[in-house]
């Protein structure tokens, strides 16, 4: 097989997998709790900066993971308590509040790290011979990690006790309360899981993109498009959205350029909104 085609194919698989992980945090928060967290991209940014800090301190790359989880869980819990919980019944106000939060986080990052780009060295440099072509090891590893994370999360959500309780809470919050589930606490925990997933995704992509305070905007929009196209509230929705958006974007960007890719994705999202507003996998 033509190595160029293989490379492009793996690129598409990479784009889809990484997009699934990037959108996962928002899928949890928006899909399960119904909260559109515009600051989702900023939690990804936090993860990326944690990776940067880890490297600049000379720590092994993996340390970025617990560092990010610590920061994102504390911040996520605080945000949920201060601005999400009081506004659960007012989705528009939640939107404005999280927009304000995203602004704040961007400005804090700018104040600490400056507005310029930072770069993080790839922890696993080099390429490896794969399916007849040379492909970067780190990207291949990210594909594996992405699939692993999504799979583990899906299995856990479907099989575990807590997963069932979250599904119960989402499906019928009154009955969940009646059976003793503290919906407030479970929702807060779910929110924190969402922000931590975003941070983790940030650690993953940090070596491959310029790390700068505005990086989150692009991610939150793409995640949002994935969910519009794929449908909220299900894993198959997330994956189908990632396939469509990620696939479309990488193919068009490869053929023309990144701006066109972005344009195509935006048009696609609006088309879906127009023709099939509940997404490919519409939840009943």
């Amino acid at each position: 097989m033509d190595p160029l085609i293989v490379t492009q194919a793996i690129n598409v698989v990479y784009a889809v997998s990484i997009l699934a992980v990037l959108a996962l945090g928002l899928a949890v928060i928006f899909g399960l709790l119904g909260v559109l967290n515009i600051a989702h991209g900023e939690f990804i940014m936090i993860g990326a900066y944690c990776a940067y800090v880890t490297e600049s301190r000379g720590w092994p790359y993996l340390v970025a993971v617990p560092l990010t989880l610590a920061v994102c869980s504390l911040l996520g819990a605080a945000v949920e308590w201060i601005m999400i919980r009081p506004l659960y019944r007012r989705p528009f106000d939640t939107l404005v509040a999280t927009w304000g939060l995203s602004l704040l986080l961007r400005k804090i990052a700018e104040a600490f790290f400056g507005p310029g780009f930072r770069s993080v060295t790839i922890p696993l440099p080099g390429t490896i011979k794969f399916l007849g072509t040379e492909y970067p090891i780190y990207r291949l590893m990210l594909i594996v990690v992405s699939l692993a994370v999504v799979s583990v999360l899906v299995i856990w959500y479907g099989r575990s006790r807590t997963g069932s309780r979250i599904r119960a809470m989402v499906n019928n919050p009154e009955l969940a309360q009646a059976q003793g589930i503290s919906v407030r606490r479970l929702a807060a925990a779910t929110f924190v899981v969402g922000t931590c997933l975003a941070g983790f995704a940030g650690v993953m992509v940090a070596p491959l993109v310029p790390v700068q305070p505005f990086m989150g905007l692009d991610y939150v929009l793409r995640s949002f498009f994935v969910l519009i196209v794929g449908g909220l509230g299900s894993v198959s929705g997330l994956l189908s959205g990632a396939v469509v958006i990620g696939g479309f974007d990488s193919v068009i960007s490869a053929v023309t350029d990144a701006a066109n890719g972005y344009f195509a994705v935006l048009v696609l999202a609006i088309l879906f909104l127009w023709l099939r507003p509940r997404g490919i996998v519409a939840r009943a």
């Binding site: 601005m83 528009f92 704040l104 961007r106 104040a111 905007l217 972005y262 999202a269 909104l273 507003p277």
Partner: protein
């Protein structure tokens, strides 16, 4: 009035007071302020938030820049093109609003995200389309406005544009369309049930805001001489929202105060104070969560003194309601609705007479409110026919069905809480009577009708015009909502538990009102009720629903004697 003259005086005097540099600054920020007023219109009035407003500012700036460069030898033509640049932005905004609102309905989040995406896209296009836009460095060498030399001359032009924008906003806010926007922000569903196309209202609001941003952007090009992609991008979009919020999005001057004060201050302080931007972000969050009225809210008592008292103007008679339309019979034929696994309505067939008071009763889950929802067009997936005066209304959108003469009083009292009683009633009068163009005329706010006068003599509180609806007691809100439904002089009036939660006296009052309305309107009044004493008093015919279908129909005595009905209400061995 005194207020506008004071504002104009201040505007003229400023450069003399503050000197050339500040005149220049304020001139620039006046253009941004024009865009911020547009955000105040969308967010503070109509209740949706555009996060990418700079798109329209930048678009007009580029278009204006092309015009000035292209016609640099005949600058007067370029000046004539300025309004068109602004108009282009306005039309684009209307088009985007039209496409997005129709599909996202009441979800403001989707709209906000899409406007954000569009702004980023505009930035991308402006940056990469080098040949046309000059790329990242921007469109340079734009000639200035002809005949102006001084830095402060630009200020006067900018200030004039800002004043035009403010005048436009002031007019629209006091016109019926402004009232409708504010109503939309409070209770969109209710406004649709009065026959107003809320998607179009939002699109118009967005279009006007785009026009306002376009007016600012169009002037930016000749005044500053250079147009860069940042003018269409996220940074300016975000700043506009912040300035509008901090200044006070709900008031006319708030966004201007925010832009001029905060915006121009920021540009000075952001380099000197390291955490200025962080502080601004925190301040924004605090305003949004705690004090949404913003700086203008602080100045409100002072501003009110300047505005002076509004003289009470005389009332104007409204045109006749379209009940030149003949009464229409409402019929349901084999209507079924399923939501997922659950069958809500199951082959429901009822023929209501065209006139009279009818009661619908039945156990919980029988489908009574669902039947009303199907009639008013709020349920999807309805099979069967629902006929009004002979034509099938299944599949029509709620505001069209209301326009055909169906009025509804909802189960939970649903008025526009933050609007005055007078405005609430006016909305009911405009419903079905005001042509769209008339909604731009402030005098419509003084409409009255014979029926309104009769209602006001029965219930004096309905005449306490400026009081806000939320100040009314629960019972009074029920009566207000009922009055509003009656004012549309409908052919079919659907009342969903009109006496829920009312005291016995209030219940008597409502019953009297219903009887009066039946006589006065001559149409059909269909009431869902649980209270059998009310049903006995009012109903000419009683319909019993069970499991989504009609179980029995007849006079009160007949229903009481019906064995099937007893079985349903009492249960028993099956």
């Amino acid at each position: 009035m005194r207020a506008p003259s004071i504002v104009v005086l201040i505007v003229i005097a400023l450069p003399l007071l503050l000197g050339e540099f500040w005149a220049y600054q304020l001139g620039l920020y006046a253009l941004y302020a024009a865009a911020a007023v547009g955000i105040g219109l969308c967010w503070g009035q109509a209740g949706f938030l555009p996060l990418g407003q700079a798109l329209f500012f930048g678009l007009a700036a580029y278009l204006s820049g092309f015009a000035f460069i292209g016609f640099q030898n005949h600058l007067i033509i370029a000046v004539l093109m300025l309004p068109f640049a602004a108009l282009a932005s306005g039309l684009l905004a209307y088009a985007i609003g039209y496409i997005v609102f129709r599909r996202t309905g009441e979800s403001g989040a989707y709209f906000s995200m899409i406007t954000l995406a569009l702004s980023l896209l505009a930035f991308q296009i402006a940056t990469s389309w080098n040949s046309v836009t000059g790329g990242f460095d921007g469109l340079k060498g734009i000639p200035g406005l002809p005949g102006l030399d001084d830095l402060s001359d630009n200020y006067y032009v900018s200030a004039a544009v800002l004043l035009v924008v403010l005048a436009l906003a002031a007019w629209l806010y006091s016109a019926p369309i402004g009232v409708l926007w504010r109503a939309l922000a409070q209770n969109e569903r209710r406004l649709q049930l009065f026959g107003f196309d809320t998607n179009q209202l939002k699109s118009i609001a967005f279009g006007v805001s785009g026009l306002m941003a376009g007016m600012g952007g169009a002037l930016y090009a000749p005044e500053q001489g250079i147009v860069t992609p940042q003018l269409a991008g996220f940074g300016l979009s975000a700043d506009l929202v912040i300035w509008a919020a901090v200044g006070g999005r709900g008031s006319l001057l708030g966004p201007v105060i925010g832009t001029l004060l905060v915006g121009s201050l920021s540009s000075e302080l952001r380099d000197t104070l390291p955490f200025w931007e962080v502080a601004m972000a925190l301040f924004f969050i605090a305003i949004v969560l705690i004090f949404p009225r913003g700086i203008a809210g602080l100045a409100e008592p002072f501003l009110r003194k300047i505005e002076g008292r509004k003289r009470g103007r005389p009332f104007i008679a409204a045109p006749d309601a379209p009940t030149q339309r003949p009464p229409a019979a409402l019929t349901l034929h084999d209507v079924s609705v399923r939501v997922g696994e659950v069958t809500i309505l199951d082959g429901l067939s009822i023929d209501f007479d065209r006139a009279g008071i009818f009661c619908v009763i039945g156990p919980n889950g029988a489908g009574k409110t669902s039947m009303f929802n199907a009639i008013s067009g709020e349920l999807s997936g309805v099979s069967g026919q629902i006929g009004l005066g002979g034509s099938d209304i299944v599949g029509l959108v709620p505001n069209r069905i209301s326009g055909l003469g169906v009025a509804r009083k909802l189960q939970i009292p649903s008025v526009f809480p933050d609007l005055s009683i007078a405005d609430n009633l006016a909305i009911a009068l405009w419903s079905g009577r005001a042509a769209k163009v008339q909604l731009l005329k402030p005098r419509l706010r003084r409409w009255t009708s014979p029926m309104l006068e009769q209602l006001q003599s029965r219930y004096p509180f309905l005449a306490s015009g400026p009081r806000k609806a939320l100040e009314l007691s629960h019972g009074e809100q029920q009566i207000l909502e009922l009055a509003m439904a009656l004012l549309t002089e409908p052919r079919v009036l659907l009342l969903d538990e009109p006496c829920a939660g009312l005291s016995p006296e209030e219940t008597d009052a409502v019953m009297g009102l219903v009887r009066w309305a039946a006589q006065r309107l001559g149409g059909a009044i269909i009431i869902i009720e649980h209270d059998m004493s009310l049903v006995k008093e009012l109903a000419e015919v009683v319909y019993v629903l069970h499991n989504g279908t009609l179980l029995a129909k007849g006079g009160v005595a007949a229903i009481q004697a019906d064995a099937k009905v007893r079985a349903v209400y009492v249960g028993g061995e099956k």
